[in-house]
């Protein structure tokens, strides 16, 4: 039968394999050069911090794959021959395929900084980086992290857990404020500093300076300051890993180009996850989706297509989540970092500065567009439903307790959010319909 070959054993590759297996008996081979078994990439930090061992980050026990007749191969795919419908491996083997899925993920961005390849300078993307980081961080008296995204702050937390002083260079005026509105960005910034991280806002890396031993000795910032350090973490984003398709007939831009069915220009060849780039324009959605969730959802769509039900990818209502040291973050729908002309937002922050809620809504018809939550958990299903059903901000506030997903006995803040709204909208006062209480569920 038509064999399915998948390059990459990340969330995208493995979800595709699993779901195709549920619907068909065809041979499935997954090839990866990173690890023998699928593990959770977002959990890398916890291995370094001693919260878990590598084995705990594997979502399935090792026997699972064989039992489901999903063949795993540890090798690097060096090239794809779309005419012969085969791929070449670094061990000299060639492997024919019926259908091919490219799910090769990303790699760390390096922007050509002088000194970026010195010993002690690295990114964090995979298992190899983690091992390298283990080596690079022994006997380090200061580390510098460059780039204020999600991986940067994780790296800061990792180093902090080993008691290594960290200087965190962030280009933006507030942490991650190319995504977060100012208030939220400041909230996170305060928390980063609470941990003793030396957060340098509005500061860029200019050069990484070598010592006599070929190791990093210091970094030079655009402000002309030299910061002595023995470790530099490069965390200014990731870029699609398209190497494998480069010398083939498969079209590439920044990522491997696909249509809404995740089909490349070559019939029978698909790409999904971090490495794929959509051809079509989708308002407010990025063309390259570099998330665990999107990898999984793209794979869920792709599996249907591979099993004969050609299905377009639908991201649904946007959501994402992360954790900044101790502060959890969830977002539903669209919350843009800069105020949009036709939108208004209600922003409530707890006096302690570790919890906040932002609800963005349309100025004219008052329908809710997005939520930002810090230090508070909301139900995804409820928020999605409100956004999809175009509920007004007044309706949402009245029913806010329904969305609360914090554990039992936690402080409930709905009243305070509503009180704030009422004080600024005296003409439209709302009343909380009910408290969440201990025995209520949505």
């Amino acid at each position: 039968m038509d064999s399915l070959v998948i390059i990459g054993n990340g969330i995208t590759g493995m979800t595709t394999a699993r779901l195709v297996r549920k619907q068909s008996d065809r041979p499935i081979i997954v090839i990866s050069d990173e690890t023998d078994f699928f593990y959770s990439r977002p959990a890398l930090m916890y291995i370094f911090m001693g919260h878990m061992k590598f084995e705990h980050t594997k979502p399935y026990e090792d026997w699972f794959w064989e039992k489901n007749k999903i063949q795993l191969l540890r090798a690097t795919v060096t090239s794809i021959d779309t005419n012969a419908k085969s791929i070449a491996l670094n061990n000299g083997q060639t492997l024919p395929y019926g259908q091919l899925v490219i799910a090769t993920g990303s790699r760390t961005n390096k922007f050509g900084w002088p000194g970026q390849d010195l010993t002690g300078v690295q990114g964090l993307y995979g298992m190899r980086d983690l091992e390298l980081m283990e080596k690079n961080t022994s006997n380090v008296s200061r580390a510098v992290i460059v780039g204020g995204g999600l991986i940067g702050i994780e790296m800061a937390e990792m180093l902090h857990s080993r008691n290594i002083p960290v200087t965190f260079l962030v280009r933006e005026t507030n942490y991650w404020d190319n995504i977060l509105p100012q208030e939220e960005a400041k909230l996170v910034g305060r928390h980063i500093r609470e941990y003793g991280i030396d957060l340098r806002l509005g500061t860029q890396l200019k050069e990484i300076l070598p010592g006599n031993d070929g190791r990093v000795r210091a970094v030079l910032t655009d402000k002309g300051e030299e910061i002595a350090c023995q470790f530099v973490g490069l965390t200014a984003g990731v870029t699609p890993n398209t190497d494998v398709a480069k010398s083939s007939a498969i079209e590439i831009n920044r990522g491997i180009l696909v249509n809404e069915f995740l089909e490349t220009n070559v019939p029978g060849v698909y790409a999904a996850g971090d490495c794929a780039e959509f051809r079509m324009n989708r308002p407010r959605h990025p063309k390259i989706e570099q998330l665990w969730y999107t990898g999984r959802m793209q794979a869920e769509t792709l599996a249907k297509t591979l099993c004969g039900i050609r299905t377009p990818y639908d991201r649904g209502v946007w959501f994402n989540s992360a954790k900044f040291f101790d502060i959890e973050y969830q977002t539903y729908g669209f919350v843009s970092n800069l105020p949009m002309p036709d939108e208004e937002s209600l922003y409530w922050e707890h006096p302690e500065g570790k919890h906040c809620v932002r609800i963005v809504y349309d100025k004219t018809n008052r329908t809710v567009i997005g939520f930002n939550l810090f230090g508070i958990r909301y139900r995804q299903a409820i928020c999605e439903r409100w956004i999809r059903d175009r509920r007004t901000v007044e309706y949402v506030l009245e029913n806010l307790a329904e969305a609360n997903f914090d554990p039992e006995f936690f402080r409930e803040f709905e009243h305070e959010v509503i009180a704030l709204f009422n004080s600024t909208n005296p003409a439209r006062k709302v009343l909380l319909k009910r408290r969440r209480g201990l025995f209520q569920m949505a």
Binding site: I11, T35, D36, F37, S40, P42, A43, Y46, I47, F48, M49, G50, H51, M52, K53, F54, E55, H56, T57, P59, E61, D62, M127, L130, E131, E134, S138, N139, S161, R162, N163, H191, E194, Y195, W292, Y293, M297, E300, F319, S321, A322, K323, F325, D326, E328, Q330, R377, R379, Q380, A381, F405, D406, P407, E408, F409, F410, L438, F439, Q440, M441
Partner: protein, 435 residues
């Protein structure tokens, strides 16, 4: 399999924490000394030197955490430290706990001098000298209280954990230590209101019932009534509304010890499918065993021994030895540092078996998952003391309804994406299929 070699990180305990550990060690040495003849001359002094130093040392170790870093989940280095990752100190602790139980159950004569150091307290509380069980009860309660403080400090950002920990400390201190002691002071039968059949199996055995019936005053009869009500009415009712957690992680003394003294070891429970299988065979076998023992004893008692003679009594002794002592004590607590904090609760406890069946088929309790937010990181499964592979459900967006879940809430607390929540709700639709 992964060629990753994580060396021991260079970060160490702070000086004050080291001092706390040292004080604990000193107290421990005095405790060993108290086992010997020397302590006879001044048992109270030895009590102060051993228990006093250990408690002070533990608090000196625990309390600085309040200032060390902001509140939040701090499992840093757990898998690097030898005490919490089955290294040398982990094994040493296991040998110590196991040895303690063996001596306690079968060679209490060696504890004689140590028991005498608690006489003074026993006199105050019970109006009589201490015995091995008083000693045991005292140190057990002390462990729950001191390590409960640790649990609260560690989870000070989480109200569910704070309240729950206060609850187990309260029930252990009040109902499993003070009240049974005071009852004796007032010449009443020693009785534990928070333990009932089948965990405290003998409370429904004919012998205990006859003994309680024969007590002067109405209290004995009330105790029989109380025990039966708790076993047959309160257990199903409370489990229906709250799940098995109302008992296992809020009231029970075994659970109380697991949630406090056992907390540093919770991640060592086995999560494999294989161990889940073993768990089901073992726990339901024990349940059948205890039900049979109870039935045999009653049939025998009703027929005045005509039916089984001494045979049913032997059956009950076998249960007492293998399950009551060896399993629940020696293995149950002794293996904390090797197999996690809930070995007994997971593999052996017949009470947990019944509560579990109720929880699975007749309860409003479930752990809900928040849409598609799971990143499969594995924190929930790793820190589930019952060895439940929580992630397997969370990834699919399925509710978690497992007989063994004690509702400790730690999976929900450690999840970095806020995916899990313990909830009580209508039974219909409780089992969802997820994605």
């Amino acid at each position: 399999m992964q060629p990753i070699s994580i060396e021991l990180p260079h970060r160490d305990f702070s000086a004050i924490k080291k001092a706390g550990l040292a004080l604990c060690a000193v107290g421990f040495l005095f405790m060993i000394m108290a086992l010997m003849e020397v302590s006879r001359s001044n048992p109270v002094l030895f009590f102060m030197l051993s228990a006093g130093s250990m408690v002070t040392g533990a608090l000196v170790f625990i309390l600085p955490q309040l200032k060390e870093s902001p509140a939040g989940i701090k499992h840093n280095r757990l898998f690097f430290l030898s005490a919490t990752s089955r290294g040398f100190w982990g094994w040493a602790a296991a040998v110590f706990f196991t040895g303690f139980y063996v001596i306690l159950y079968w060679f209490p004569q060696y504890l004689e001098n140590l028991i005498r150091t608690t006489d003074w307290l026993s006199w105050i509380m019970r109006g009589k000298p201490a015995d091995q069980w008083f000693l045991y009860g005292f140190y057990y309660t002390l462990a729950v209280v001191v390590m409960g403080i640790r649990m609260i400090v560690k989870n000070r950002h989480n109200r569910y954990q704070i309240i729950r920990t206060c609850s187990v400390m309260f029930f252990q201190l009040g109902f499993a230590f003070l009240i049974p002691g005071l009852l004796q002071l007032f010449n009443q039968p020693e009785f534990y209101f928070t333990y009932f059949w089948p965990l405290k199996y003998s409370y429904l055995f004919p012998n205990d019932i006859q003994w309680l019936m024969s007590q002067p005053g109405g209290l004995g009869v009330f105790m029989i009534y109380w025990g039966a009500m708790m076993s047959f009415v309160a257990t199903p009712a409370l489990t229906y509304f709250f799940g098995k957690r109302w008992y296992c992680s809020w009231v029970c003394g075994c659970g109380g010890l697991a949630e406090t003294l056992g907390d540093p070891y919770r991640h060592l429970s086995d999560k494999s499918l294989w161990s889940w299988k073993i768990e089901r065979y073992l726990i339901y076998s024990v349940l059948v065993f205890v039900v049979m023992t109870t039935l045999l004893l009653w049939i025998n008692s009703a027929t005045q021994g005509a039916m089984f003679g001494t045979w049913s009594q032997n059956f009950s002794s076998v249960y007492g030895f293998y399950i009551g002592a060896l399993f629940s004590g020696v293995i149950g607590v002794g293996f904390y540092p090797l197999m996690g904090s809930r070995v007994w609760c997971r593999f052996g406890c017949p009470m947990a078996a019944i509560l579990g069946l109720l929880q699975k088929y007749w309860s409003r309790f479930r752990i809900t998952t928040n849409g598609g937010q799971c990143i499969s990181c594995g924190n929930c499964s790793t820190y589930c003391e019952m060895g439940i592979d929580v992630r397997a459900y969370a990834m699919k967006g399925q509710n978690i309804i497992r007989a063994s879940c004690v509702g400790c809430g730690i999976c929900s607390a450690v999840c970095p994406r806020g995916v899990l929540n313990l909830e009580n709700g209508p039974m219909e639709g409780r089992y969802n299929l997820g994605r």
